[in-house]
Amino acid sequence: MPAVTLEHVCKRFGDVVAADDVTLAIEEGEFFALLGPSGSGKTTVLRLIAGFLKPDSGRITIGGQAVDAVPPYQRDIGMVFQSYALFPHMTVYGNLAFGLSVRGVPKAEIRRRVQEMLELVRLPGMENRRPHQLSGGQQQRVALARALITNPKVVLLDEPLAALDKRLREAMQVELKQIQRQVGITAIFVTHDQEEALTLADRIAIMNQGQVEQVGTPADVYERPRTAFVAGFLGDANFFAGRVTAAGGGGRPGEVATEYGLVVRTAHPLPPVGQPATLIVRPERMRLVALADPDGGRPGAAEEPPGAGQRAGDPAGAGEPAGNGFAARVQQVIYSGKTIKYVVAAFGHEFQVMEQNRDDRPLAAGDPVWVAWSPSHTVVVQP
């Protein structure tokens, strides 16, 4: 039984549709991310689950029970706010004890549980501090401990790490995931940071303009984005748009004649022949091979995938079914330590290629290159 479900949930604010027919099922013990740009409706969905907003239509369940008529304080949730929302007039102890004390838990039991939670979030001995005496990371942990102490059915986290600086954020990501695993709680968190979602989540729902564009594991949504938006939001992507010339199947790749006059092959299912199709390739899936011949001759055989010999403007020749490639010129080299990003130009367009920094003879701007990639890394998306 899913821990939390949303069925055809809609919520509008005036003319703005903040949640548009959202249907989700979050499993027991799952760490689930709602990812999207600001204004995509992810926070609205979280607040609908918390009960701070009422859906215009649709149904929400928590722990198998419909919560349409249940106010937030009876939903048995925990929530971590972006601003932490620690009670400023209480000590750390008071903040942690609050949820238990309003439930009438005996004092001795509260004391024991607070100690446990402080151990869990590695803040022992801090119970008499006030929130403003704590660092950002410590406040974050107190907020998390406060949300977990009542053993809620689900914990909701609204951009929980957004207020922390980069290094602390990365450390807290690891810790957050550890604690979630350790407690085994169902957690739903909202973030606009795709890296954070990919790192932390078991599954991710990518939202855009109030709609869920795709739900899947991090590898699913990154490697096989369903739409151009998902592909673009989760990372850099090179786009190829065109018409299907061969549907493929039975071990043979499909083919799309793109606007650049280049035929791109894909191992993934395509629409029928003649239909438009959009293909994306991740920069790190493309490889660059230096070309000796400035006018775009073929690269040396050692660097080239077998059969990849197609040249720009030269449609796939017979007997060369497998690879993708085109000649280009390096436009820009962006060095960032362990990786190097190349911006290469061909057909009057720019493409991005990400290489590991393992070559001791890096390419320079102006170098002619052969860009090569495999049809299995050529993903078909909805435009």
């Binding site: 701070f52 304080y73 925990g78 929530m79 706010f81 929302a85 009670f87 007039h89 949820g99 439930r103």
Partner: protein, 260 residues
């Protein structure tokens, strides 16, 4: 240049302070002077404070003032805090108009308000007396309370209430254990403000006082008309100390409200 600027600045500050406090200082000093004719040098004595203890009229007026100010404080703070919460929390028709209507009672001269209240209270049969004065004082201190509590609420983070709900606290528990404690400095400051407004109020009290029932400012005014005695200086000294103490407390709480 800088040194000269510093000297000029200090001199200016000293003049300002003298202008504000010199009359008060003179009055306080004279309260401790044995001579009733303001002669110098001062002969230190507490004779006027002692004779104040036997002045039944002034003592009764003082008691009236304290009772009235306390009642005003309680009623005004309660009503004003609820009003401020409503303004902060809800959007409703006429909200802007109602908020704008808070200001005129502060701007309209008290003399005019006092006259208006006197006429109105007679017209509806409320008449004069402590109850009429209470109504007047509440009406005049309410805008201050709404504004002071409202200022505190502006800095109130409503996610604190959402956090309380998410932890299982019902609206009543949330209000008592989160909202009230967080805005309390503002509420206390507003209450002290209301007390001071009532305690220092002369014009409206003068108009609404029934014969024989006076507050301190009214009684002092009457006493001055019949002849100035240093007893009044002694009494004024006490009032100044209490009023300034309250105002300093307000300032402190208010500042506390400002920087959290």
């Amino acid at each position: 240049m800088r040194f000269l600027g510093g000297v000029a600045g200090r001199a200016y500050l000293a003049l300002m302070l003298a202008f504000l406090y010199l009359p008060i200082v003179v009055m306080v000093l004279m309260a401790f002077n044995r001579s009733s004719l303001y002669t110098l040098p001062i002969e230190w004595d507490l004779i006027w404070f002692r004779s104040l203890l036997h002045n039944q009229r002034l003592l009764q007026a003082g008691l009236n003032s304290v009772l009235l100010a306390t009642a005003t404080m309680v009623v005004s703070t309660f009503l004003g805090t609820l009003a401020a919460l409503a303004f902060h929390r809800y959007e409703f028709r006429g909200k802007a108009l109602l908020q704008a209507l808070l200001l005129p009672p502060i701007a309209i001269p008290w003399l005019i308000l006092g006259t208006a209240m006197l006429i109105f209270f007679f017209w509806v049969g409320i008449g004069r007396g402590l109850h009429a004065m209470l109504l007047g004082h509440v009406a005049l201190s309410l805008p201050y309370v709404v504004m002071v509590v409202g200022a505190r609420l502006k800095g109130f983070d409503r996610t604190l209430e959402e956090a309380a709900y998410s932890l299982g606290a019902n609206p009543w528990q949330t209000f008592l254990r989160v909202t009230v404690p967080v805005i309390l400095p503002g509420v206390v400051a507003a209450g002290l403000f209301a007390f001071t407004v009532s305690f220092d109020m002369f014009v409206v009290s003068y108009f609404l006082a029934a014969p024989g029932v006076a507050t301190l400012p009214v009684e002092i005014y009457t006493a001055i008309r019949t002849g100035l005695t240093p007893e009044i200086n002694a009494l004024s000294t006490i009032i100044i100390v209490v009023s300034m103490g309250l105002m300093l407390a307000v300032a402190r709480l208010y500042n506390f409200a400002g920087d959290k």
